[in-house]
Subunit: 220 residues, 2 copies
DNA sequence: CGTGCTCTTGAGAAATCTCAAGCCCCGTGG
DNA sequence: CCACGGGGCTTGAGATTTCTCAAGAGCACG
């Protein structure tokens, strides 16, 4: 069993209540614009940069053997992404809609050079957030369609910081590929939730959450 | 966007080709014995130790609202587990069968005290392995029953280092809770794989992999 | 006012789950 | 040595959920 020692423990403690959005190291990145469906990075590409969504939205995904696409995560404004545990990307990332992405190089060639003891507390909260999101996502994939969709709506609402209504940047296909459902099932489930009075579809991408507690019960 | 700087980049590079099993910091832990189905740590307990399986097998899981159990990971001899990103455990862990677990305290009170730059390369490969395993697991949950079971058998075979045959320490219920299937579906799928000549069930826990390539095709 | 894309809806097919029964293995005790 | 009992595993049949295939509706854009 490895021992982690005093300083690691202190660093862990320091990270504990810090979220990825609060990581406050200086920004060195340039902001780039990506059009809808344009690739930001691809699977197996060397992971040379880290990214932050300034505006818009991003999907990270993998293509399965049979051509199906599994979306591993959506990233919304403020979210960091693209930092890998290895040298190359395991997922591809694309802009879901017209997006501004802050891109910064991950290497010595940037003028800024903290030692690794400084970098560690930056990396750890990112890893933790990613891990938690993924763990929740995994739990989601073994539940019924209504639970998945209800949970998804609440997650999007929470993450976009809205209360009464949520604007989805992604298509039904994206939602389906994220939840492991077909677009038809996603659509039908939304219709059911509307008929139950839990939500109202202003338009297909604009959804009012009329009854959050009922939604939460559905997602439970 | 945060910058990671030179040393972090070097450290990442150093970690790149290191797996959890190879992490070589000194062991300080004492080896404890856990009987079948005995809890090693529980959800929400403070994460004060790190664990390594010496013999036996461990399941890490969460209980869902409705009483169902989702197994997040199995740990086999040589695997490290229980290291969390926060202060407390998110999963519970139990011995699947009679197991010896090496337990070491994760704090300053252990005599061993590397600085965090030393601890970082220990933590990072662990996080990476865990992340990869989880990502694969997630991809698995959106596929058909036969693919899930075939993949599971190959994974267990690979991880236990055997070639022709695999001995499963866990019950059908454990497998089902890991794969998001019922025990009946797991059982039926194994029967199908046997009828197809891909495997042979010596006993319910002892499975010969007669045709690995066919299995791999099934799991693809 | 078409055209193309996305979304919704329907009906039948397929996969998985649920409920129920029975089997197998193995340890225990007569 | 054999009957008994319990847990784990398998099998079956019908219910349920989700998928597939197909058609049509809504909407933005040229």
């Amino acid at each position: 069993m490895l021992s982690l020692g005093t300083q690691a423990a202190r660093v862990l403690a320091r990270c504990e209540n810090k979220t990825a959005k609060e990581v406050s190291r200086p920004y060195l990145g340039t902001t780039r614009r990506f059009a809808r469906n344009v690739e930001i990075f691809g699977e197996d590409e060397p992971a040379t940069h880290v990214y932050r969504v300034v505006s818009g939205a991003v999907r990270a995904f993998r293509i399965l053997h049979d051509g199906r696409r599994q979306i591993m995560a959506f990233y919304l404004p403020g979210d960091l992404f693209g930092l890998e545990y290895g040298n190359s990307h395991v997922n591809s990332a694309e802009a879901i809609c017209e997006s501004q992405i802050s891109v910064s190089r991950l290497s010595a060639s940037s003028g800024f050079a903290p030692n690794s003891a400084d970098a560690f507390p930056d990396l750890w909260p990112l890893a933790r957030d990613e891990w938690r999101r993924m763990q929740d996502h995994m739990m989601l994939l073994v539940r019924g369609a209504e639970e998945r969709v209800a949970h998804f709506l609440l997650e999007m609402s929470r993450r976009s910081g809205t209360t009464a209504s949520v604007t989805l940047p992604m298509s039904r296909q994206d939602i389906g590929d994220y939840l492991g459902l077909t677009i038809e099932t996603v659509s039908r489930t939304l219709t059911h939730l509307e008929q139950a009075g839990f939500i109202a579809l202003r338009s297909s991408r604009q959804i009012d959450l009329c009854n959050r507690s009922a939604l939460a019960r559905s997602s439970a």
